[in-house]
């Protein structure tokens, strides 16, 4: 864990934001201009200004430096600097999810998208470049409720997935495979963007409020294969799904055995699939046909 390395800010402007559900406020040193973009992407987290916060109490600190914005946190080995304020905000969300998991002992936190079909909550665990955000937004566009496009807390008492109310984020430019109508849908809803990313606002019908939970009924491994033709959904054994979900848990405050046992339990109650696809709209429609 890195330590906040500043000892005094008497000449600096230190402001802090407290996020609902996260104990330690985030300190902003000389970069109050980041408040608005941060607030813009958290639809449901109540975000409050904190007066007289001691920056030393913050587990996450952002500071304006010559090169951009430097962030240090308990979850970073070294401070990182982003030139672009939107990149800085994007990356801050990672630490906020870590902070949330840390402040909720017993929660798992999965690097996964999750969508609520009529058959229940389905997970799409994967790292980057599997297309989970683009697929997530296509699900929302086609009427499926999106819990998250990237990080899913799993409750400690009954292993249910929990919505975060953090808006989904798309990488730009959008893939060539998306339709013109989808582009228009996205364009109307952008709340924050730069050249590389944009955050998309969804209302509560499309994305349930923070704290909404649902039992996990399915795990779908994504295989984005641009050479594939029609999307293909096949049933798979629990083995690959369990391995993938174990790898995607980034909440480390639980004992290893607890993590394994709970992921086995989740998989026990879930149907497991592999989705191979090239076109996210066709893939979303295939999933809706199967699970709605």
């Amino acid at each position: 864990m890195s330590k906040n390395r500043y000892s005094t800010f008497s000449k600096h402007n230190c402001s802090s934001l407290k996020f609902e559900g996260i104990d330690s406020p985030v300190a902003f040193i000389d970069c109050e201009e980041l408040h608005a973009p941060v607030k813009a992407i958290f639809r449901d987290f109540r975000v409050e200004h904190v007066k007289d916060n001691l920056w030393e109490d913050s587990h996450i600190t952002l500071r304006k430096v010559k090169e951009g914005y430097e962030r240090s946190s308990h979850w970073l080995d070294e401070p990182v600097v982003h030139y672009d304020p939107v990149d800085s905000v994007c990356d801050l969300t990672v630490d906020l999810i870590h902070a949330f998991a840390s402040d909720h002992p017993g929660f798992l936190c999965l690097h996964s998208a999750a969508a609520l079909f009529k058959k229940g909550l389905f997970l799409f665990p994967s790292t980057y470049r599997a297309g989970k955000s683009t697929l997530s937004l296509h699900l929302a566009y086609n009427g499926v409720q999106l819990f998250t496009d990237d990080a899913l807390p799993v409750t400690s008492n009954n292993n249910e997935g929990m919505a975060t109310g953090l808006y989904p984020r798309l990488r730009l430019p959008l893939p060539e495979t998306v339709t013109e109508n989808f582009r228009k849908y996205i364009k109307k809803r952008i709340v924050l963007r730069n050249d590389r990313y944009c955050y998309i606002s969804l209302d509560q019908d499309e994305q349930p409020p923070l704290g909404t939970t649902a039992p996990i009924r399915g795990i779908i491994l994504l295989n984005l294969d641009l050479n594939s033709n029609a999307p293909n959904l096949i049933s798979i054994g629990k083995k690959d799904a369990i391995k993938e979900v174990i790898l995607r848990n980034f909440a480390r405050q639980n004992k290893a055995l607890d993590i394994v046992e709970r992921i086995y339990m989740i998989a026990e109650d879930a149907d497991c699939y592999k989705l191979t696809y090239a076109n996210p709209d066709r893939a979303a429609k295939l999933l809706i046909k199967h699970f709605n």
Partner: protein, 106 residues
């Protein structure tokens, strides 16, 4: 992978007589033909592929390297002996490094 026992212990003949024993604190969970190993003390989780699982299960009692390699060779006669030796020694090396098994001289 350049992962040989002699690199670890020095002498290949002596290496073949090293004895491997499971760490009794490690918890196993079956995953079809594979295993998940949990070191709950260090909060680490490992996955063994089917071959690794076979070796792990063969270590129900302490075994010499030579014994492990010979058993694998008879189970997989179509695989080149040298390949089996390299794979087995590499896996054993990794298991030792991760504290999942212990190694002692005979």
């Amino acid at each position: 992978m350049g992962c040989t026992l002699s690199a670890e212990f020095g002498d290949e003949n002596q290496d073949l007589r090293m004895i491997y024993t499971k760490n009794p604190e490690i918890i196993e969970r079956t995953l079809a033909d594979e295993l998940i190993l949990v070191d709950n003390e260090a909060d680490n989780i490992f996955n063994l592929n089917p071959i690794g699982t076979a070796i792990w299960q063969f270590l129900q009692e302490p075994r010499e390297t030579k014994e492990i390699i010979e058993t694998l060779q008879s189970a997989f006669p179509e695989v080149e002996a040298r390949q089996i030796q390299e794979d087995a020694t590499c896996l054993l090396h990794n298991l030792v490094q991760q504290g999942l098994i212990f190694v002692t001289p005979r």
